[in-house]
Symmetry: C2
Subunit: 453 residues, 2 copies
């Protein structure tokens, strides 16, 4: 058998497969290199020339931003355009006032790529002062701003930590279809699709599928898009978002689901604490108070407390309104020092047909919402797992069991007691970083007026 090197048709192998395509070094690796000559690659983020003999350049790479100082002859004749892709050669110097504790004494700049035009707005300032439309219309540019970029550093941590914890809990990761032949789960607010010669629908949630999977895998999780055709114009809704789903078999109660959910959130915020201190700082955001156990309060009791304590009547036509959620969190913070609170036992008509009725009161359900800093981020419950109960519940809700053929097949052939949750991934970041809208927490958000960029 021939070795690869001897084959005339095999191309050469580049010999620098490593993390940084050496000799490059990243801005966040400089601390150990004080006094050394280094080469940095990145974007010329901002530029300040105090004279023709003193120029400050901020270089942005995937590690962060580092200041490069050019002095004397090294500064003369420098020709750097902000936004350019450059290689910087220089020496690492200790600089206690700098965020990274170091700066670069610049020697040489090599420009690799230059912008074709002036930027439509200045992204080199500390705060990117543009309105939401401008921010989103110009996403290819605005995500380059350090503060905007940092949002997605945090988001990356949320996604990774969620999957990591779910695997630790022995859940299988599943991927379920987003195109559905029927708009099964109630019917409203589905996007419709031309699917060859038929109509199809975009999935609002993996609910039915993850339950089916519990019958085989027992514990599953999914990270995937969910699509809702709601004409919302709020700061908390979008029409496409990433749902963090989970479903667990062999539970004894929906309390188990809340127990596990707490563990997952604690893990996510532990990882954010480890990885995203600099990102939090850019947003003046503090880590929330994540107690070992989150308060759990019946929704009906919570409403009474809100009325008594804050003099606010939650409107009758809703389970709880945004203002009520804010008060619930205020109460959790004041009484238990927690930025999280579970509201439990939602009324049966407010929850989907598959929600388990409460043991002690069939008008309520074994369900919960998790409220974080005044916003619902998770909805969960125990599900009805007995075939006949499920059929009855469908009828109670005015649904025809015939429309739920393959879903019901799951239960016809025995299912363990189970429950789970769906969590809005972007809402965590939106509230954590005190952003003005959930749309800021999404790279390319979708709303009623915005199917692009």
């Amino acid at each position: 058998m021939r070795t690869l090197e001897k084959s005339f048709t095999i191309s050469y192998y580049s010999n620098y497969i490593n993390m940084n395509f050496m000799p490059r070094i990243l801005s966040n690796q400089l601390k150990e290199k004080i006094g050394e000559e280094v080469e940095l690659w990145g974007r010329a983020y901002s530029l300040r020339a105090l004279s023709d003999e003193l120029v400050f350049l901020n270089l942005q790479d995937r590690g962060g931003i580092i200041q490069v100082v050019f002095e004397g002859d090294d500064a003369k004749g420098l020709n750097i355009k902000v936004g350019s892709i450059v290689k910087i050669f220089g020496t690492v110097k200790e600089e206690k006032r700098a965020a990274l504790g170091v700066e670069i004494q610049g020697k040489k700049v090599e420009t690799l790529e230059t912008p074709e035009d002036e930027m439509p707005f200045d992204i080199s300032k500390k705060a990117l002062k543009v309105d939401l439309s401008t921010l989103l219309d110009n996403r290819p540019l605005t995500i380059r701003h350090e503060t905007v970029r940092s949002i997605f550093n945090v988001y990356d941590t949320v996604l990774g930590a969620y999957a990591e914890k779910m695997r630790e809990l022995e859940c299988k990761e599943i991927k379920t279809p987003k195109i559905l032949g029927a708009a099964s789960e109630g019917g409203a607010n589905f996007f419709t699709l031309d699917y060859f010669d038929k109509k199809a629908f975009m999935a609002q949630s993996p609910q039915f599928y993850k339950q089916m999977c519990v019958g085989a895998f027992e514990r599953v999780f999914e990270i995937g898009p969910a699509f809702r055709a709601e004409r919302s114009f709020t700061t908390r809704h979008v029409n496409e978002y990433i749902s963090l789903d989970a479903e667990f078999g062999f539970i004894e109660s929906f309390e188990d689901i809340m127990d596990i959910h707490e563990e997952v959130l604690k893990h996510i915020f532990k990882k954010i604490e480890e990885k995203n201190q600099a990102d939090l700082k850019l947003h003046n955001a503090e880590l929330p108070s994540v107690p070992d156990k989150f308060p759990r309060i019946k929704l009906a009791d919570m409403k009474k407390i809100i009325k008594e304590r804050y003099g606010y009547d939650v409107p009758k036509e809703t389970d709880i309104d945004p203002q009520g959620e804010v008060y619930a969190c205020q109460y959790a913070k004041e009484e238990f020092g927690s930025d999280f609170i579970f509201l439990t036992h939602y009324p049966r008509p407010e929850r989907p047909f598959y929600t388990m009725p409460a043991k002690d009161n069939p008008e309520e359900t074994e369900s919960f919402d998790l409220i974080f800093k005044g916003l619902e981020i998770t909805t969960g419950s125990q599900r009805i797992h007995k075939y006949n109960d499920l059929v009855e519940s469908m009828k109670d809700f005015g649904l025809d069991p015939k429309d739920f053929g393959f879903y019901l097949e799951t239960f016809k052939y025995a299912m363990p007691a189970h429950g789970g949750w769906g969590m809005g991934s972007e809402r965590i970041v939106y509230k954590l970083l005190n952003l003005g809208s959930i749309k800021e927490a999404i790279l390319f958000p979708r709303d009623v007026k915005r199917p692009y960029p």
Copy 2:
């Protein structure tokens, strides 16, 4: 501040948050428990009564399948229905002939849930002998079959290992929209959608978005659905699949992309080797030969070799056809002992407009496909990163740059040299396990005739 326990509205906390909701134990944890009394929960997978004093039950839980033997009085009057959800009480016995090295001497069975009906087909046999339609039409049941379930154990490993390696390579995980305002990337084979008062399209790939993100994050990856409205009726195509995407900035050549891609695949197969030996065995599948370096051959050279060596003419109207891919892999195996081969330098008209033309021959591109066991699983390339070159390339392809506003904005303001890949996640599992169709590697696959279950 009050402690949680003292609050009258706080419900009790279940005190058994742990991996298995003790006192339960899993089938794959029994080896250390020989001689001990245990409690197992799961599904009565199959049943064999040799007499009323000797009954064999296979119990399935998320750890696998364990045999439970009931003898004498313990067997008498046993009433277990196959498919039921049960608790089993018994003693762990060493049994060298058993796959897990142990079996259970059964004492008692507690039935939690019973099927409402006889199964439409027998899923307790070692091989599930049903045709593809039956297999997919009855997905809630067929995924419970141990061999079918094992496919998704492997798939779970693929997803987890991919994300793990990408993070190790310092890529940020991104989530980009699946609803698009314009069918930008050429136009054909998009599903169309009613998006409020407009038409919209389902994303075929995150290509444009991941490139835009390179401008900010430098290295990114995405795991997400891709939708293709092709009227295909093959064993290798579906209309919705999970694409494993990556994009890297600051590369020197598309060889870097292949270098990194090799590392990713080596990691995936290393993890499968660690975690999925039992699953592979159920499919009589062997781990592929994953050499340190995969052969890389120019497509044009490969075609010559196929002609000379196997007497097969790749049809002129295609870059390479499925039969050609099979021969390419046969060659890689015979010559280099590899189950993988990169075919490189695809002709320019066969690749999208954003593909970097080859340095030495502008009729070819700096592109590759990775072929695994006779099937293309990955497509990748270096991309054009200079604004003017990209505009020219659009024109060469008969496209109007005006239709690519926000994509072009990315390049107008400078981009580093970059490249990446898109890999079909399900294809890896399909070929690895020698399945009859890619649809078997998807929980709920979508094809022209199948928008459900």
